[in-house]
Each structure stands twice: as C-alpha cells, then as structure tokens.
C-alpha cells in the first residue's frame, strides 16, 4: 500500500519537473549529475548537527573540569615583579603568624612544612610572588590550598570554621551502596533474563518484558519516594536496625532502578547467541536448563558483564534516590545499616546553597569530574572491550 502511494507521488512530481526542464534546454543530459545547492547545503548542515553530540561530550568535559580547576591551579598571576621584592621581606613574618600558612610550599608534604618553605623562597621567587600576592589579597587561594590538603582526609565538613573536604568518606559510601545494590540487582535481573530468554513461552515473555521495561520508566524520584516512605519502614521491621534510612535501604532502592538496565542488556546478549548453539546442545542430549546454563550463558558472559557494568554506572551516579533514602551522613563504617552519603547526593544537596566561585563550589565540581570520568570509563569498557569479546566468541574466531 505505502510503497505504491509514495511511488505515485514521486513520479508525478518528477514528471512535472522534467517537463519544465525539457522546455528550457530541449534535452536532458542524464549522464551528468547536476550540482544542487540545496542538496549540498542539506548534507553539510546535517553533518554539522550530527557532530553536536560529540561537541556536547567535549563541552561537558571542559566545563565541569574548568569549574573544578581553581583547586589545583590556585596561584593567581603576580601583578608585578616589584611585588616579589616585598614578598621576600614579608615572608619571614608570615611564617610565624598562623599554622594555616605553613601549608604553603608543598601541598603533599605535610610534616616538613618549614623545610619546604625555605626551599620555595630560595628557588623560585616568581612562584613565591604569586603566593604572597594572594596572602595579601585575601582568603580565596588560601582556602584552596588547605582544601586540597584535606581532600584525602576522612572528614567531610564543608561548612565550618576550618572546612574539610575529605572525599574519602564519600567515596567509601558510594562504593558501599553500589556494592549492595549490585549484589541485590544483578543476580535477580540476570536470572530473570535467563528465564525470559530460555524458558519462558511466548505469552509469558510478552508479560515479563514490558513489565520490567515499565520499571525503567519509573522516575528515580518516585523510586526514592517509595523507598523513603514504604521500603525503609518495611525493612526496618524485618531487620530491626537502628537508623531508619541507611545504605541498605538506599542500596535496595538503587538496585530496583538498576534492574531494568541489567535485565534488558542481559536479555539482548542471551538472545543474540546464535540458535545453532542451542540446537546443537539439545541435539547432543543436553536438557533445556543445561543448555541455558552451560552453553548459552557462557557464550553471553561478555554481554552480561557489560550489563552489570552499566548497572554499576547507573547506581554510581544516581542522585535522587541517594538524596532521599540513604540518610546522607558521611560515615566511614562498613556496617550496611549505617547512614551514608554518596558523591552524587553531595553535589545535589549542597550545590544549591554554595557560594559561586567558593572552594566548596570548586570541590563539588571536582566530585562531578570524578563521577564523569568514572562513568565514561565504565561505558568505554562496556563498549569496546566487551563488544569485541562478544563478537569473537559468538563468531568463534
């Protein structure tokens, strides 16, 4: 029906054009391809727009990093060389004044502050000039230096007299919650995918797949709300732990969010295994479950690996569920029934209240960069390594 329809339209239009063409030139040279501006432009524009997604990735890289950079490249340029002279003089005084300024020379070296201090003064006057400039100018750079020092510490107290930005507890919290949710979601989703791919009849499959795809449509804020209102109370009644909102509740809730991703990709990987594998195995006398577990599952492992990786990526960057269901206290313990605070939730909770350009602001962007790099790498692994392996295994090369 459709093809004929289009066909008739096209022929009509082209006939029309040909008529007008012939009336102008008499003959059409069909061997020559006419250059058309509209076509040329269309192609160029389409190509340009297609590059947009690459551009966006690069821009995200650039801008998220740019806002976190001031922590590292804190030295503002020295105004004049004269300033360095003054610096040399004022320096001695500075050392006595406060312990904060002791951290100036080398950030990594915490113990021999005094020594590194001397070194800096001797060797690079310009460098010192830059530093001293900010000493007189104010606190901005000062904060950055001490903030950088606290990045690897265990405490996260961004808004206090002496702000400490210990990412360590946040990272531990994030990994803890990721582990819990993957331990919950991966087995469930993979087993369900095996059922759907190998055992389920056509009818059951038509129920299972859309239902789980529906789960993917649940907004994360709804899952977070469910975890906060219902799941937390329910789990507390079952397990009798103290804090109502903790990494266990958060982990389960994030697992629910990750299930559809793991399920869908695993199911795709399992059904992508050629039918001949299945038939050969059954013909050799293996039963249905033996085929499913010992033939099809091993053939699809790279795909399942990718599925779990992408599930991890989803959980790692999940913000709303983490904000609502994990309790949001930066604690270090390994107990799953303690409150935790994840990297993403920290950004979500604190970015709105932070002063633009402040050290705290920069540190939050630094956390964003960490998240971005992590998910980028996970996606790259899932994309290149796994796909290559999967193709090799299935094609038997």
């Amino acid at each position: 029906m459709l093809p004929e329809y289009y066909f008739s339209i096209m022929t009509k239009k082209i006939k029309k054009r040909k008529k007008s063409d012939t009336s102008n030139s008499g003959l059409i040279d069909i061997t020559k391809k006419k250059f058309r501006w509209s076509d040329y432009l269309a192609e160029k524009i389409i190509k340009g727009v297609a590059f947009l997604s690459i551009t966006i990735i690069i821009l995200i890289f650039f801008f998220v990093f740019r806002e976190s950079m001031p922590i590292f490249s804190s030295a503002k340029p020295a105004e004049t060389t004269v300033a360095s002279q003054e610096v040399q003089e004022t320096y001695g005084e500075v050392t006595d004044q406060s312990d904060k300024q002791e951290t100036y020379g080398e950030v990594t070296d915490q113990t021999d502050v005094q020594e590194t201090y001397g070194d800096v003064v001797d060797t690079t006057a310009a460098n010192v000039a830059a530093e001293s400039y900010t000493v007189s100018a104010g606190s901005g750079h000062d904060d950055n230096q001490s903030a950088l020092k606290t990045l690897m510490s265990k405490e996260w107290y961004p808004v206090s007299e002496k702000p400490r930005f210990g990412l360590f507890s946040l990272i531990i919290g994030t990994f803890k919650i990721t582990l819990i949710s993957i331990l919950f979601a991966a087995p469930l989703a993979i087993l369900a995918a095996i059922y759907s791919a190998s055992f389920a009849g056509k009818r059951t499959k038509e129920i299972i797949k859309p239902t789980i795809e529906m789960l993917a449509g649940f907004p994360s804020v709804v899952i977070g709300f469910f975890a906060l209102m219902v799941l937390a109370t329910f789990l507390q009644e079952v397990f009798h732990y103290e804090t109502r909102l903790n990494s266990f509740v958060g982990g389960i809730a994030m697992g629910i969010a990750a299930i559809p991703i793991i399920f869908t990709i695993t199911e795709d990987a399992l059904t992508a295994v050629p039918k001949t594998f299945n038939e050969a195995s059954l013909a050799l006398g293996a039963s249905k479950w033996q085929t499913a577990f010992f033939v099809i599952l091993p053939a699809a492992t790279p795909g399942i690996f990718a599925a779990v990786l992408l599930g991890i990526g989803r959980v790692f960057g999940e913000t709303m569920i983490a904000l609502m269901a994990t309790g949001n206290a930066a604690q270090m313990g390994m107990n799953p029934f303690e409150s935790v605070r994840t990297l993403a939730a920290t950004i979500g909770a604190e970015m709105a209240e932070v002063v633009f350009g402040d050290t705290h602001y920069n540190v939050l962007f630094l956390i964003g960069s960490v998240l971005f790099i992590f998910t980028f790498v996970i996606n790259a692994i899932a994309e290149f390594y796994v796909k290559g392996k999967l193709m090799k295994r299935i094609q038997g090369k």
């Binding site: 093809p3 529906m214 804020v221 033996q290 993403a344 979500g348 970015m351 790259a380």
Partner: protein, 302 residues
C-alpha cells in the same frame, strides 16, 4: 536412569529459581505501583490538579508544578527533537556504518546516555548559566543580571541534552524500517538524496520520531537532578511568564515535600497524590510509546 531423574529435579529447581526472580521483579513493580496508587488515589481531584498550593504547601493543589513540568518538556522537545532527528538521519542516511565519524558519533551518543543526570546539572550551571548566560548579560544588558541565573530556558536546554540520545536511538530505529527499495525507487526516478529523505524517508518514519519524542518527554518529566540548580524552585506564587523565570516541577515538588518540608506527616496525602500524578503521566507516555514501537516493529517484519 537415576542420573536423569536427578537432572530433572535440578532442572525444575533451576527453572523455578529463574522464574521466581522474574516474578519477584514483577512483584516489586506491582507493589510499588499499588502502594502509590492506594496512597494517592483519594487525593486526586479536579481541584487538586488545578489549584495552587496553600498554607505553606500543607493544603491546596499542584497546578504550578504540572504547568512547570509541561512547559519544561515542551521547551525540551523543541530543542531535542530536531537535533536528535537530524543526527539520526546523518547516521542512517549519510554516514557509512564503519566510518570513524559514524562510530565516534555513536560512541558519543551512548556516552551521553550513561552520564549521570547530576553531571548534566553541573554542566548546565557551568556552561549555560555561568558561561552563556553571564556573557549574554554582559553583552546585551550591560552586566545586569537576567540570564546569568537559573531559569526555565537553561533548565530545558540542560534537559534536552539528557534526552538527546533517547530521541536519536528511537528515530534511528524507525529510519531503518523504511525499506531500501523505496529509497532506491525514489533515487531512480531522479529525486536527489535530500528530496528522497524529505519526501520518502521522513514521512515513512514519522511514528518513530513521535515515539522518540514521547520517550524523551517521559524521561524529562521524571528527572529532577539536572534541574536542581538550573532553574527549579521550591515554591512560586506565580506561573512562569517568560523564559527567564524560575518554575516548579512535579518531581522536585515530591522531593522537597518528602524530605525538607517542616511537617512531613501532615502533607503525606499531597506527597502521594503528586507522586501518583507523576507516575501516571510517565506511565501513559511510556505505554503509548510502547504501542507505537510495537507497531513499527510489526511493520518491519511484514
């Protein structure tokens, strides 16, 4: 004989295990939906949907949040759908499958799809508000603060980056269902490539573009993290009138009411009601997308 019997038992057990995990997942979905439905169904009324919040959000309706969500997804679609469709057209019609350009675009699209939504929020803040917005203010308004702060335009653009991969993937799938013969026929009749695309390929895949749009809208309606600091507001007495206004959103409304309001228990019915509205919205959208997609796939197999 005995061995095969043992195997049978094992087989039944293992099959049962896989079946029960599938059932458990379905049970989770059903329980979640039922709980939210029961909690929120009494709250939903015409008045709830069309009136403003009252008494410090402890009473009244959620109209501004619905309005804000609608405005957000419309602006988002205006930005994301054309660009997503054009990218999909490039990938299927112009680029060769193995070319480096096509491969890197595909990789970029998939990366965009897995980047955590909070990163988009950071990007929106760093790029749209602090970079583009501030430059616009400096250039046109002489430093007066108008665009260099969170508003609905920047929030929608941030959201459109997030939904771009959704559109691209759906449209690409639909474009591939247009038969090669149709293109060949069009080209053979003397139509140029662009004419073929415009008059043959796009009309043939319009349902796919629609699917992509619906999926993108449903995604954008539910996401909160990207707009947390690019334009969403806790409470506004007026509806957003221009692109430089802030706005309210259903998802953020749920988040704030359930975690940061002074009296969580008192507003519980409103919270469940809002969640139910959001859930129904995304469900209806997703459901229609699934039906459309099913029809596309059916066409493909015919």
């Amino acid at each position: 004989m005995i061995k095969s019997f043992k195997n049978n038992i094992k087989g039944i057990l293992i099959e049962g295990l896989t079946l029960s995990s599938a059932l458990l997942i379905i049970a989770i979905v059903v329980v979640m939906f039922t709980v939210i439905f029961i909690g929120g169904k009494d709250q939903i009324s015409w008045e709830f949907l069309t009136s403003f919040p009252e008494d410090g959000m402890t009473k009244g309706g959620i109209f501004p949040a619905i309005y804000g969500t609608a405005l957000l997804v419309i602006l988002m679609s205006v930005a994301a759908v054309p660009f997503g469709t054009i990218t999909a057209i490039y990938l299927t019609e112009y680029a060769r499958e193995e070319s480096i350009i096509a491969k890197s675009i595909r990789f970029a699209v998939r990366t965009l799809a897995v980047i955590p939504s909070i990163i988009y929020g950071l990007f929106g803040l760093g790029f749209f508000i602090k970079f583009v917005g501030t430059s616009m203010d400096n250039a046109f308004l002489g430093g007066q603060l108008k665009w260099g702060q969170p508003n609905i335009l920047w929030a929608s653009l941030t959201m459109s980056l997030l939904t771009l991969p959704v559109v691209i993937v759906s449209v690409e799938e639909a474009l591939k269902t247009v038969p090669r013969d149709l293109r060949a026929a069009s080209l053979a009749l003397g139509a140029t490539k662009w004419q073929t695309i415009w008059k043959v390929v796009i009309p043939g895949s319009i349902s796919g573009i629609l699917t992509g749009t619906i999926l993108a809208v449903s995604r954008a309606a539910g996401e909160v993290a990207p707009i947390l600091f690019t334009g969403v507001a806790y409470y506004l007495a007026t509806l957003p009138g221009s692109l430089s206004d802030q706005f309210m959103v259903l998802g953020y409304h749920i988040y704030v009411m359930s975690t940061q309001s002074a009296n969580v228990d008192q507003t519980m019915p409103i919270q469940f009601g809002t969640t139910l509205v959001l859930l129904m919205l995304t469900f209806i959208l997703n459901f229609s997308a699934i039906i459309l997609r099913y029809r596309i796939r059916k066409k493909k197999t015919n």
